[in-house]
């Protein structure tokens, strides 16, 4: 039951964050690239003021998988690195915390772009 409730929370919060993005697409004509930039900045800001942490505790991957969660990971990485090593952590913490996703995207992106042929749209 608690597992089911957890996955329901993940689904609802993750779905809602995506629906907000779709609302921006349909109502503001913002391009997806701009929306992604907005999402990551929103994630960094909400994380910095302490609002995103509780959402991530509540909804797990529902809050961390959307791009706002990427911003949250950057921000939390920076703050815990500052706690450990001081000001220099402002530069090292963000990328350390998000290295897995970024390196995977670079590596698998290159591999796939080499292995597959572009197709007609």
């Amino acid at each position: 039951m608690s597992l089911l409730w957890m996955y329901l929370k993940v689904f609802l919060v993750g779905g809602a964050l995506c629906a907000i993005g779709e609302l921006l697409v349909l109502r503001t004509r913002l391009t997806p690239a701009r929306i992604l930039v907005c999402y990551i900045l929103t994630g960094v800001l909400l994380s910095a003021v302490g609002l995103y942490g509780p959402l991530a505790d509540f909804a797990g991957a529902g809050a961390t998988v959307p791009l706002t969660g990427f911003g949250h990971a950057l921000c939390q990485g920076v703050m815990s690195a500052v706690d450990e090593v001081g000001l220099i952590g402002a530069f090292t913490g963000g990328l350390s915390a998000t290295a897995g996703g970024i390196a995977a995207a670079v590596f698998f992106g290159t591999l796939i772009a080499l292995a597959f042929k572009p197709r007609a749209k």
Partner: protein, 152 residues
């Protein structure tokens, strides 16, 4: 003459066009983004849980595992042309999760590969992901500096 007179009443005209135009795509589009995006997050949670329970990972490693797996799946699905179809169906449901970040790297890299391995593939990997990283990293450094200087 009669046919033209039908359209002289603005209210009647707008009522007519409302009847004849397809229903607003807003609700349906939001629904599609919601369920696909929600399901991608559920998949992410399942990967993280699997990492914690079966691979003895801590929360941070499990979170990296989630990102890496979703990025890999997206890259593969983009390569075989399935992700574009998902994107057309789900809109923000496919590009708001980290899958969208991965697709935004793979898709232009694949498309511009013929322009060379360096300025084609290598550069285009970051045509959309670049700005996202620029502003995300920039903002996080700023937050880190403020945190280090004023809250320590």
């Amino acid at each position: 003459m009669d046919k033209q007179r039908v359209h002289t009443n603005p209210q009647h005209y707008s009522w007519l066009t409302e009847q004849l135009s397809p229903p607003s795509p807003l609700g349906a589009g939001l629904g599609r983004a919601f369920w696909v995006g929600g399901l991608i997050c559920v998949l992410g949670q399942a990967i993280a849980d699997a990492g914690v329970h079966w691979l003895d990972m801590n929360a941070r490693a499990a979170s990296s595992l989630t990102s890496i797996t979703l990025v890999f799946l997206t890259a593969l699905l983009t390569g075989v042309g399935v992700f574009d179809k998902l994107g057309k169906y789900a809109g923000a449901g496919s590009f708001v999760p980290i899958t969208g970040f991965a697709n935004a790297m793979v898709s232009p890299a694949l498309e511009f590969r013929r322009e060379g391995l360096v300025l084609g593939l290598g550069a285009k990997l970051f045509s959309i992901a670049g700005p996202v990283l620029v502003y995300g990293i920039g903002a996080s450094v700023l937050v880190g500096m403020i945190y280090a200087l004023f809250f320590h």
